[in-house]
Subunit: 330 residues, 2 copies
Amino acid sequence: MTLSEVGPVLLADLQAPVRDRLLHVEDELRRMIEADLPLINDVNQHLLRMRGKMFRPTLVLLADEATGSVGESADTLAAVLELIHLATLVHDDSVDHSVLRRGMPTINAMFSHQVSVIMGDFLYSRAVVELVRIGDLDALRVIGRVTNDMTVGEMRQLLAHDPLAFSEAQYDLLIRAKTASLISGACEVGALSAPPAERQALARFGDLMGRAFQITDDLLDYTADESTTGKPSGLDLREHKVTLPLIHALPLLHPAERQQVERLMADEAPQEGEIGAVIAAVTAAGGLDYARERAQQLVLEAEAELDVLPATPAREMLRACLAYVLDRRR
Amino acid sequence: MTLSEVGPVLLADLQAPVRDRLLHVEDELRRMIEADLPLINDVNQHLLRMRGKMFRPTLVLLADEATGSVGESADTLAAVLELIHLATLVHDDSVDHSVLRRGMPTINAMFSHQVSVIMGDFLYSRAVVELVRIGDLDALRVIGRVTNDMTVGEMRQLLAHDPLAFSEAQYDLLIRAKTASLISGACEVGALSAPPAERQALARFGDLMGRAFQITDDLLDYTADESTTGKPSGLDLREHKVTLPLIHALPLLHPAERQQVERLMADEAPQEGEIGAVIAAVTAAGGLDYARERAQQLVLEAEAELDVLPATPAREMLRACLAYVLDRRR
């Protein structure tokens, strides 16, 4: 089966083969974050309610099964990946002063800036404690590198506010560090006991898929409304974040449109109308089409990495993950 | 030699026997935090200028020498301890919205809140990467536990704003988690290859010394002026932080003085006069004397832990560290 034969994919379909294990992963996650302090547990309760669809743990388990693993340690690793993901969400929301995430109040909005900084540190250090507990230095190596890459990505994000100075190459460095590194890490830690060729292929698979994932996410900001993403459309532009559609469109814009972009980027609080005009100009210049093609191309490269794996149902589910990642645009 | 025979101690004296190694530790620290991104290196330059007196690395090296170690790995561990310390300072200043640290602008003041949250994560994840690089799972266990304890301590700090509800036992939990855990961790990772009795004694030594260190620090807030600490006297009270002198004094205050305390704690922006009056009342009720005695008692308990170590110059320097910690009140 090739990717082009995979129809629309629901995450629940991808998760069906590892459903029971995911329940165990959720138990592991709950165990890992529990604390003696009621305030921490209050935050934990909220985090568990707002946690996502467990995409990263699903990748760990599918990579684990696709490389013929057995042990329970992959369940713990899967929970650690979600724990790291939660820690980064908490700090990202604090850095961005976001008030909503998946339609729910963020930790900084519901508790405070203070609580969100400390809780991110709490979650991240718990992840380290768990990896030490299972004595997996190899997983610690991957997780240490990934978490450090993510901080560099966040720092690059802070610098990505000048569309005239921000190139596609810099955007690619940004999304690899910010998003693809953790998705690649999830695929890799699921394959730590596999032959090096399979482990490396899965790491590359995750990197390529993760870049497609972020490009699709950035596209949603141009196309989706609040009911789909849980956040208002055009939020990146409102916050002066430059993403692939704009980077591609910018040299193709008419001078008047280009001035509109520059005005928006200089405007502390851009109006809906300004944002809408820039979205229309970027769309007309082919920025969205280009970003879609780029995501599709990355997904095809990712698919090719799966060839090294034995033909198993888990491998086909990893292939279906690629369709799911692209499909998020609808 | 006993502690009572040790005169006033300068940190430079404590560091003399490990001076050359500390220079190597500084090189290690510089190597660890270097990055490809100019913004990160700008922050690093500022951090290296504002870094402290390398007290925690000194403890690692003294513990290493007092337990008869040899290898260079202790130098790396010493640098990691300073790295963790820097990460916590950066996040603490961000949480507290502090603008000055040791008379220099904080990272949040000089760069931004965003940069400080991300840089703390960058430094902490670099520490994990370094510990994985030297393959020291035992050190990772200590550092993972310590960093998690510190986040719990910071969370307790957020709750320590109601003097009527904050007991000495809770204060002790707070300072153990917030301060003593890292100082204990420094002493312990210097002794990882020592016999368990020595390692455990040094961990307890660090815990006891760390509590005395924080009590002395909290005392300085009641007694020192800006030129000594680099921050204004009474800052904790201004920020409604309840520390040992007030906890001890509160039940001994006259009703009118107690009302003064309650008014200060309810006042968003207390005046100098209000703060001065509470400091005077706490002093008159013996709050400072009690805190001093408590610090001295902890230091004596810490000193007793050194008996298990062989008599070496390094052991005597660890003893002198206790005098240095108490001496900071002047």
